[in-house]
């Protein structure tokens, strides 16, 4: 009983809290990093160096008036942010944050596919938000979003197939163990796939330079134009939770999850003194930082260019990568 119910529930509770809290600090990190990139200071008022800004923001959002436009579809308008947040949180169930069983909730044999399929549900949140607002800019944004997310989902899934081929398993823990066995992070085995997943991940999470659905300068905020208060905050949470998911997936698939660098070289065994979860979070942080960095640097793609990139560049490369991986797998 304790083994099957209490411990998993405890883990879920801890993980959910950790994710939600880290999301609020992600916003602070993003504001700070972008500010430094732009030779500003960023938030400095709340607490020392503005660290309490991460708490002030959610409080503000909770206390704000939550407005539903008169002509909106009330049910869908409320449902949409929930739909976009829940899948983002559900996928954490299969992310292994460390080597020990303590650090993941479950390890299912279709783990990677589970992540892909559950995140694909998140698109409904954006589409329904745009539709339910009964407003033109959100509608445009949601049409953009649905096309963008489906296209990039294909590209990312295709790319992941080559990783699955290399690892020979769909389980997230299994993939890390496969990297341990082969002694190489798959980032070195599958560099093309790594780059494709990174680009696709940016597009899947609607981050710059692919933030078409919420392009403020074009669509005045996109699908969440009509949202305010807590419902807006849910979208916000979903976006950052998705960023964390993508970073975690990239870490697991390409950067050896909780493994230390060069797991096969015994001379570096002293690195194992650092606990596995620290390695994991360290790697994840690198990718989160990368996401923010890219946002501060790059202009935004145009919608048709984005689709062209997805269909005419990423998908063909992904297919080519599968073929090459398959041949290599057979030959070696």
């Amino acid at each position: 009983m304790i083994e099957t119910i209490v411990i998993p529930l405890l883990k879920i509770a801890v993980l959910l809290n950790a994710v939600l809290v880290s999301v609020t600090f992600m916003t602070l990190l993003e504001r700070k990093v972008i500010a430094w990139a732009q030779s500003r200071l960023g938030p400095m008022r709340v607490g020392p160096y503005g660290v309490l800004q991460a708490i002030a923001d959610p409080i503000k959002l909770i206390l704000k008036e939550d407005i539903t436009p008169v002509k909106a579809d009330r049910m869908m308008f409320t449902l949409a942010p929930i739909i976009s947040l829940v899948p983002a949180l559900v996928v954490f169930a299969v992310v292994p944050f460390g080597g020990d069983e303590l650090f993941y909730i479950t390890d299912i044999n279709v783990g990677l596919l589970f992540i892909i399929s559950v995140t694909s549900i998140g698109v409904y949140g954006i589409i329904l938000a745009g539709w339910a607002s009964n407003s033109k800019y959100p509608l445009l944004a949601s049409l953009r979003a649905s096309a963008q997310l489906i296209s990039y989902e294909i590209a990312v899934t295709m790319t992941l197939v080559s990783v699955i081929l290399t690892a020979g398993t769909l389980s997230m823990v299994g993939i890390v163990q496969a990297q341990q066995d082969s002694g190489l992070w798959y980032g070195f085995v599958q560099p093309v796939a790594f780059v494709l997943v990174l680009i696709g991940g940016l597009a899947e999470t609607n981050r710059a330079p692919f933030d078409m659905p919420e392009a403020e300068q074009e669509l005045t905020g996109g699908f969440h134009t009509e949202y305010s208060g807590m419902r807006f905050a849910l979208f916000f949470l979903a976006e950052y939770a998705n960023m964390i998911v993508i970073s975690a997936v990239v870490t697991v698939l390409f950067w050896g999850g909780w493994l230390r660098p060069f797991p096969s070289i015994d001379a570096l065994a002293f690195l194992d003194l650092i606990p596995s979860w620290i390695w994991f979070f360290g790697k994840m942080f690198v990718f989160l930082y990368l996401f923010i960095w890219i946002r501060a640097t790059l202009p935004r793609y145009r919608y048709d260019q984005l689709m062209r990139l997805g269909w005419k560049v990423l998908i063909p490369i992904a297919i080519g990568n599968i073929v090459v991986t398959g041949i290599a797998k057979v030959v070696l």
Partner: protein
């Protein structure tokens, strides 16, 4: 016990959502109910030890096909409900009756087949070693069912081309 509880809950959800799909006047709501229905079916698959299918159900059905429906519903932004126009030749009641008859017939068949003395169960011909094994499913797909598989892929290709041709605007 737990399985029964889960089954009945899911059954009620599946049927209830299905009824909601076909009765809701608002098409977008219909689509959302359909998605929820498919998610419940996916959970059912998990209970039937078909995890791969469950994931595929979510990925392809809920994440792909139904998004298409939603897309189309939003594109054909309806000014008026299609239900307003009634073709006098349409016999809705008879349709309802016919469906009821089909339900009765199906129920009859099931009842008949199970009240009869158990016919020898279909033998698990060459029982697969592991259940719900993706690897096994893959083997089956790529060996015994290779030709249907290829046919299916050609079908998808044709459908893709067809959809593009249909949706393309003449410029």
């Amino acid at each position: 016990m737990a399985e029964a509880l889960a089954f009945y809950t899911l059954s009620v959800l599946i049927l209830g959502l299905a009824v909601a799909v076909i009765t809701t006047p608002n098409t977008v709501h219909s689509v959302v109910f359909l998605v929820l229905n498919f998610l419940c079916v996916a959970v059912l698959y998990v209970f039937l030890q078909a995890e791969f299918l469950a994931v595929i159900q979510v990925l392809v059905y809920a994440g792909g096909i139904v998004v298409l429906y939603l897309f189309v519903v939003m594109l054909v932004n309806l000014g008026r409900s299609p239900e307003e126009h009634q073709d006098p030749r349409r016999l809705g009641l008879i349709g309802l009756g016919l469906s009821g008859a089909v339900l009765l017939e199906l129920a009859g068949i099931i009842a008949y087949s199970y009240t009869r003395e158990q016919s020898p169960p279909v033998t698990a011909a060459q029982a697969s070693p592991v259940q719900g094994n993706i690897e096994e499913l893959g083997w089956l797909l790529y060996t015994d069912y290779l030709i249907p598989f290829e046919v299916a892929s050609v079908l998808l290709l044709v459908a893709m081309v067809g959809a593009i041709v249909l949706a393309r605007r003449e410029s």
